[in-house]
Symmetry: C2
Subunit: 338 residues, 2 copies
Amino acid sequence: MADQHPPRPPTIYDVAQAAGVAPSTVSRAFARPGRVNSQTAERIRAAATAIGYRANPVAQALSTARTRMIAVLVSDLSNPLYAELLRGAQVAASAAGYGVLVEDTREDAATERETAERILPLVEGVLLTSSRMSDSAIRSIAKQRPVVVLNRGLTDVSCVVADEQRGARRAVEHLGEAGHRDLAYASGPDASWTNGARWRAFSDACHELELTGRRIGPFEPTFAGGFEAALALAGARSTAVVAFNALMAVGLIRGLQQAGLVVPDQVSVVGFDDVLIGQIVSPALTTVSTPMQSMGATGLRNLLGLVNGARSRSPGPVVVPARLVIRDSSGPPGAQGG
Amino acid sequence: MADQHPPRPPTIYDVAQAAGVAPSTVSRAFARPGRVNSQTAERIRAAATAIGYRANPVAQALSTARTRMIAVLVSDLSNPLYAELLRGAQVAASAAGYGVLVEDTREDAATERETAERILPLVEGVLLTSSRMSDSAIRSIAKQRPVVVLNRGLTDVSCVVADEQRGARRAVEHLGEAGHRDLAYASGPDASWTNGARWRAFSDACHELELTGRRIGPFEPTFAGGFEAALALAGARSTAVVAFNALMAVGLIRGLQQAGLVVPDQVSVVGFDDVLIGQIVSPALTTVSTPMQSMGATGLRNLLGLVNGARSRSPGPVVVPARLVIRDSSGPPGAQGG
DNA sequence: ATGAAAGCGCTAACAT
DNA sequence: ATGTTAGCGCTTTCAT
């Protein structure tokens, strides 16, 4: 025999009928378990499972004006760092009963903006993990829905950033203690907020510790960019270099090795971000580890806070800790160094 | 002055009033542009933009029973391979006007199943990118909503897999042409469908080309697992090894080097999956590249096909091509080899 | 071509 | 504690 008509999923009306109560009572039994007689509630639950009832989230959303969904915008999902952020955010959302709508904005500010506007009516809040939009574009989104921005400081909008300040400081201290006096910072893209923060923190730390801190670049934030930086470094007298990110740091190590230099004996290399490749490269990379997953999670929880009516807390960004992971690419400057 | 009451977003009723027509006409003007007088349509559009109207997707979904959302389940977002799949899927969905609801199922079959069931009422279809569920669990989901499974063959459910057959074949051919006669396959997890497919294809190719094809393992599908495989390989007489995935291949290279062997002069190494680390490691990894993004995109498009009433096409899985990328970790067996 | 009205499944006053 | 009754914003017959 063929099936009946496509079986429409059961509704509260079906449950109500089966349990001999009014639909609203069924609704209450699920939404406000306290406000219904426990006997009745039991009967309702039984009826519901018997006929396979499951609440229709769309109808709930329409009725309550709460979709229980958050949009997470990522500029490039194939970048493992952003994937980690997304993961942290997704898990945190799920724990709070929220769904995550991802959008890969392909590194393009216009795409990002359109995407945000398009998706806005469907979500209760927006998490921007690596926004390429202007500050004003972000503020304009934030006017329509709660927004939390990751990896970028910005007034009037809730932000979460890693403690670049302390991370860079620890890197410089580590290098200074090892005996380096002349450090270089291999810069990433000028447009990157993170790059600016890292360079400033690096520079400040060098001043305080009375070390020379020069800057080279900017370079592409890639392996190739790091490789290029290694060439640029040949001219400088620095015995240690801090790279904008791990990929560049790995490129630097390889570039230096190619030039016949030994890492860390002749040049020490420190990176930012703890990615797998830094652990596998030889020598293994000393790096400032910024906890991407917990940033994603923190950002999402703050966002849910805003969604649920919390006033945005501190005036400044929320800061998650960064720490230095010391491996084998850094050490005391050797005899041939400098 | 303070703002008025929280400004409720404009509805078709507001637009209708502003344009002097009935709400249903406004609805038509947007949904079925042909079925309304172009003059009127123009007036409606003008009014809509003037008051900033935007359709409420929740109401549309409730009314039409189409949410225009797809669930994508991933077992581990921090795995770059899955992140790539997700990216391909997301972009394809977006192009079709669909949203993607991601869920990281944390490598756990039970979590995955619960997640799927929970999210089912909200989506029109489900894309399983790396399912840990049993075949029967998958079929049970597929009974409720259209499902497409990636990276796994399975009857009665629409699947997309890479051409492991041809990929492994090319790898073996390449090694055979270079002069290797005794090859090893470093196996990944027994539970992995992909691992089985790769081993079978490897084994078949070896038979056809009259080469010895042994199997070692299973190992963890990680750098450490590959490293371990290098030790196991010491006992065998193979001069070339094909690893289950790129991470293992890189671990193998390192393990072999550690043991004083030169890659590829003494042992050739070939991997599967083209990830950044394979390009950076030295020697750069020869590998079978499976196009993750296009797999994600293909899977999603097929899923939308099913959603829109297409009968699932061929009986077998859809196959996307794989190709061999020859780099520096493979070559002719050297004098000391074997 | 357009309007009127019912209904999608649920929630939330308001009654009782 | 439970039932009655309006909506939420849109789509979709069915009239006109």
